[in-house]
C-alpha cells in the first residue's frame, strides 16, 4: 500500500528551528562530552552550549513577548498526532531562567567542582549536568503531556546522580539521593497515572487538544482523580509542604554547584508544570469548580511558609537553612496560585524568577564558603564576611532579597503577592504573608551576624574566593538588585504569562488564531 507520497514543504530557516535548538544544543553536548572523553574539553563544551541556549532562550522570549506563541512540530507531524513544542510567554520565561542559571552556574562550577569532586568524574559530571539542563528545559518547552514525563525523568535521573556526587564530602549525599530517587519516582509515577487517566477521558496527549476536549467535563470523576494525581505527583517534585521531605537533605549534601542549579531551577520547572496543567489543561473554570483543591493548596502553602521558616531559624548549617528557606519560598509561589487571580499568578511567576536568582546568589556564596571555610556550619563561617568581603556582601544582598527588602528582587514578588491578596479581598492574608517574611528576617540576620560580628574561626582560609566564583556570584547578585528596581522586563513577561494562563486554553486559541493569521502573511 506504499503509494509514493510527495513531501510538500518549504525549507525551514534556523529561526524556525529555535524551539528545538533550545533543547538540542545542551542535549547533544552530553553525549559529545562522553564520546570525546577528554576531561579538559568537558567544561568548555558545557559552557558554550549553555551560553548558546541562553541566547536562544532570549530570542524566544523576545519573539513571544507580545503574547503570541510558537508551535514547532517535531518530526513534521502536526499535533495531536505528533509531539509539539509550544513556546509562549510563560515557558519562554522559565526557559530563560533555566538557561541563564546554567550559564551563570557553570563558571562557578569550574572551581567548585574541582574542589568537591574527584578529577576522574569531571567529564561525566558535566555530561550529567547538561542532561539535567536539557531535562528541565524539555519539561518546560513541550506541549505534549507524556513528553513532559520523559524529560522530567531525564532531569530527575541526572539530578539523583548529581546529588549523589556530594558523597565525596559527606556520605549522607547517598541516602539523600536515594530518598530523592524514591520520592521522585513515586511523584513521576503519580504524574503518569494522572496523564493516563486524562488520556482515557480525552484520547489525546497534546495539552492544547486535551484542554479542548476537557471543556465541560468538570464533573467527570476520572478527570478529578487525574487532577489530584498530577498535582500530587508534581507536588513531590515541587516540594510542596508535606511532600518536601527529600529536599533539605538533597540540597544540603549535594555539591555546591548542583545545589545552586537545582535550587534556582528544578522546583521552578516543576511549578511551571503544575501551572501549565492547572490552567491550560484543566482550565481555570475546572480548577475553580473543584475549589476545594485551591483550599487545600492555600493552607498548605501557608503552613510551608511558617513551618519551614521556623525550622530554618533553628538550623546550625547555612546550607541546610537555605534549603528550608526554599521550602518556605515555594509556599509563597503556591499561595500565588491558590489566590487564583491574574495578579496572584503574576506574583507566582515573578517569584519563580526572583527566588531563582536569589537562591543562586546564596548557594554560590555557600560554595565559596565551603571552598574557604571547609563547611558552612555557623561556627565555621564566623567572621568570614570580613575575610571574604565580596562573598559576604553577596550573601547580604541575597539575604535581603530573601526577606523582601525593597530594592531587591525578592521585594517585587512579595509586593505582587500582597497586592494580589488585597485585590482578592484577603487583607488578613496579606498580613500573614508579611508576618512570615519576618521569620525570614530572623534566619537571614543570624547568618549576617555570624559573618560579620563574630571573630573568625582559626582553621578557615582567610582569602577571598577565586575570581571564577566571585564573578558569577556577583552577576546574580547584581541581577538581584537590578530586578528589584527595574521591573519592566520581569513584570511584563510574568503578567503576559499569567494572562495567558488565566485565560486557559480559550485565551490560547484566540491568541493562536490571531498568530496563525499573522503567520500566514
Amino acid at each position: 500500500m506504499a503509494t509514493a507520497v510527495e513531501v510538500h514543504h518549504t525549507a525551514l530557516t534556523l529561526r524556525d528551528h529555535l524551539p528545538i535548538l533550545q533543547i538540542l544544543i545542551p542535549f547533544c553536548t552530553a553525549p559529545l562530552i562522553v564520546f570525546l572523553g577528554y576531561r579538559s574539553l568537558a567544561w568548555p563544551m558545557a559552557f558554550i552550549s549553555s551560553l548558546l541556549s541562553l541566547i536562544i532562550a532570549t530570542m524566544l522570549l523576545i519573539q513571544v513577548s507580545d503574547g503570541s506563541y510558537i508551535s514547532y512540530h517535531l518530526g513534521g507531524w502536526a499535533p495531536p498526532v505528533g509531539i509539539e513544542y509550544r513556546v509562549d510567554a510563560a515557558n519562554a520565561f522559565v526557559l530563560f531562567l533555566i538557561s541563564a542559571t546554567a550559564t551563570v552556574v557553570l563558571p562557578f562550577a569550574l572551581s567548585s567542582v574541582a574542589h568537591e569532586i574527584p578529577c576522574k568524574n569531571h567529564a561525566l559530571f558535566y555530561a550529567c549536568f547538561m542532561l539535567c539542563v536539557t531535562g528541565l528545559m524539555g519539561v518546560v518547552i513541550t506541549g505534549d503531556a507524556f513528553n513532559v514525563f520523559v524529560f522530567l525523568e531525564i532531569s530527575s535521573l541526572s539530578t539523583y546522580v548529581l546529588v549523589s556526587q556530594g558523597s565525596y564530602r559527606d556520605k549522607r549525599a547517598l541516602t539523600a539521593a536515594y530518598d530523592y530517587l524514591i520520592m521522585g519516582t513515586i511523584g513521576a509515577t503519580f504524574f503518569v497515572i494522572g496523564i493516563g487517566l486524562l488520556y482515557m477521558t480525552t484520547g489525546t496527549l497534546n495539552m492544547a487538544d486535551m484542554a479542548d476536549r476537557l471543556v465541560g467535563q468538570g464533573g467527570n470523576r476520572t478527570v478529578q482523580a487525574a487532577f489530584a494525581f498530577i498535582v500530587v505527583g508534581m507536588g513531590l517534585k515541587v516540594a510542596i509542604y508535606p511532600l518536601h521531605l527529600w529536599l533539605p537533605s538533597a540540597y544540603t549534601y549535594a555539591p555546591s554547584a548542583v545545589t545552586t542549579f537545582l535550587a534556582a531551577t528544578a522546583t521552578k520547572a516543576a511549578i511551571y508544570v503544575v501551572l501549565r496543567f492547572m490552567f491550560t489543561v484543566f482550565q481555570p473554570d475546572f480548577v475553580f469548580d473543584t475549589h476545594i483543591l485551591v483550599w487545600i493548596i492555600g493552607p498548605l502553602a501557608l503552613l510551608a511558609m511558617f513551618a519551614a521558616s521556623l525550622i530554618a531559624i533553628f538550623q546550625t548549617d547555612f546550607k541546610r537553612m537555605l534549603a528550608y528557606s526554599s521550602i518556605a519560598q515555594i509556599g509563597y509561589m503556591m499561595l500565588g496560585i491558590a489566590m487564583f487571580s491574574v495578579t496572584g499568578l503574576t506574583a507566582t511567576m515573578v517569584h519563580l524568577f526572583n527566588h531563582g536568582i536569589t537562591k543562586a546568589v546564596l548557594f554560590m556564596a555557600v560554595g565559596a564558603l565551603v571552598l574557604r571555610a571547609g563547611s558552612t556550619f555557623y561556627d565555621r563561617i564566623e567572621g568570614m564576611g570580613r575575610a571574604m568581603p565580596l562573598t559576604g556582601a553577596a550573601i547580604v544582598i541575597g539575604g535581603l532579597s530573601l526577606i523582601g527588602v525593597p530594592g531587591t528582587a525578592g521585594f517585587i514578588s512579595k509586593w505582587m503577592l500582597v497586592q494580589a491578596a488585597f485585590e482578592g479581598g484577603y487583607w488578613w492574608l496579606a498580613l500573614i504573608i508579611v508576618a512570615s517574611s519576618l521569620l525570614a528576617v530572623l534566619y537571614v540576620w543570624r547568618v549576617v551576624e555570624v559573618l560579620y560580628l563574630h571573630t573568625p574561626h582559626p582553621d578557615a582560609t582567610h582569602t577571598e574566593a577565586p575570581l571564577l566564583m566571585i564573578v558569577p556570584m556577583w552577576i546574580a547578585a547584581l541581577a538581584c538588585l537590578y530586578f528589584g528596581l527595574d521591573t519592566r522586563f520581569i513584570l511584563d513577561a510574568a503578567s503576559t504569562a499569567a494572562d495567558g494562563l488565566m485565560a486557559g486554553s480559550a485565551g490560547m486559541s484566540e491568541i493562536s488564531s490571531a498568530a496563525a493569521a499573522a503567520a500566514d502573511h
Binding site: L400, I403, G404, V405, P406, G407, I412, K414, W415, V418, Q419, F422, E423, W427, A430, L431, V434, A435, S437, L438, V441, L442, W445, E449, Y452, L453, L485, D486, T487, R488, L491
Partner: protein, 488 residues
Amino acid sequence: MELSTLIFASMVLPTLAMFANLIFAKQANLRDTITFVAALLTFACVVAIAAKVGNTTTPQIVLFEVFANVPIAFNVEPLGLLFALVASGLWIVTHIYAIGYMRGNNESHHARFFGCFAGAIAAALGIAWSSNMFTLFLYYEILTISTYPLVAHKGTPEAIRGARTYLGILLGTSIALQLTAVIWTYTLAGTLDFQLGGILRDNISPTLLPILLALYAFGIGKAALMPFHRWLPAAMVAPTPVSALLHAVAVVKAGVFTMLKVGVYIFGIDFLAETGASDWLMWLAAYTIIASSVIAMQQDNLKKRLAYSTVSQLSYITLGMALASQMAVVGGGVHIAMHAMGKITLFMCAGAIYVATHKTEISQMTGLGRTMPITFAAFGIGALSIIGLPPLGGSWSKWLLMVGSADAGHQIMIAVLMISSLLNVAYLLPVIGRGFYRDDTANPYTGIKEAPLFCWLPPAATAIGCLILFFTAGSIVDFLMPITGLPQ
C-alpha cells in the same frame, strides 16, 4: 544648575562619600576630608535647592517606573526640604564631632563607621525628596539597613543584642505593617503619589480607615510610637555620634517625617479631621508622651534617659499629625527642626562627657560641670530648648501644637503637653543641677578639662543654633504653611 541635578547630587554625594570611605579605608585623614567636603557640598546642594524653589512644590522627577503608576520619583516640597536641610546641615556638625569622638575614644573600624554614616545620610535625603510612598519606603529600608552596622559597631554581645532589637523592630514593623499599608493603599487608590489633600478620599470605607492608619502608624517604627519604641533605647549601645544621628538627624526624624507625609499627603488632614479616624492615634501619642517621660525619669544612664526623652518628643510630632488641624501639623513640622537641634546638642554633650571621663551614668556626674563648663552649658541650653522655654527654638513648636490642639477642639491635649513639659523639666534639669551645683568628692575640680576640640565645639554650635531657631521660627512656619493647604 538644574533642579534635578541638584536633587541627585544631594543624594549621590553622600553615596560617593560612602564608597570613598570604603576604598580609602586605610588613609584616615584623606577619608575624613573627603567626607567633610562631601557633607559641605551636600548641604550646599540642599541650600541651593531651597533657594531655587522656596516653599513651592515642584513636579515629579520620574526616574523609572517600577509598578504601574508607581515610579521611583522625586520632588521638592516644604516638609521634605525642611527635613533635608536639617539632615544635611547637621551631618556637617555630626561629622566633625564624630571625627573627634572616634579618634578621642580609640574606636575601631573607622571606615565602616563613616561609610555607613554617609550611606544613612544619603538614605535620609532620599526620604526627604521622595515624591511617592514607594520611593520613600525604599529609602526608609535602606536607612534601616545602613544604620544597622552603626548600632552593632562595637561588636560586643550587648551591642549585637541591641542591634538585633533595633533591626528586628524597624525591619519587622516596616515589612509587616508599613509594606502592607503601602500595598493596600496602592490597591485602593491605584497610585502612591503624595498629593496635597490625600489620595484616599473616595477610595476607602470609613470603617477601614482607622485600620489603614494603624498599619501606617505602627508600621513606621522609626517614629517610636509605643509599643514599638523599644528599639530606640536598645540602640543606645552604639557610639554616641550614632546616637546623635539616630535620635536627632536621620532615623527618628525620618520616622516622624514619614508620619507627617502620610498624614498630609496620603490621608489628607482634612479627611482625617472629617472622619476622626486619627483620634485613637492622638490618644496613643499622648500616652506615649507621658509614659515615656515617666520612664525617662527613672533612667540613670544618660543616653537611655535621652532616648526615652526622644520617644516622648517624637510623639509630639505624631500628635501634631493626629490632631489633624493646620496649626498642629505645622507645629509638628517645626518640631522636627527644633527637636533635632536640641536633642543633637544633648547627645553630643553626653558623648563629650564620655570621651573626657568615660562616665555614662548620671549619678556619677556630680560636679563635672565645673570641669567641663562648655559642655554642660551647651547641655543646659539644649535641655531648655527641649523643655520649651523661650528664647529657645523648642518653645515655638510646643506653642504651635497647643494652638493646634485648641483648633482641633481637643483642649485636653494642651494639658498633656503642659504635663509633658513639666516632666521634661523633671528629668533634664537634674543633670545640669548635679553637674554645677552639687559639691562632691567623686569628681574633684582640677581645672577645666574639656573633651577634645572636635567634641565640644559642635555641641556648642548647635546650642547656639537652638537660640537662633527661636528667632527664625516665624519664617519656618511660613515656609511650612503650604502643607496645610491654606492659601498664604
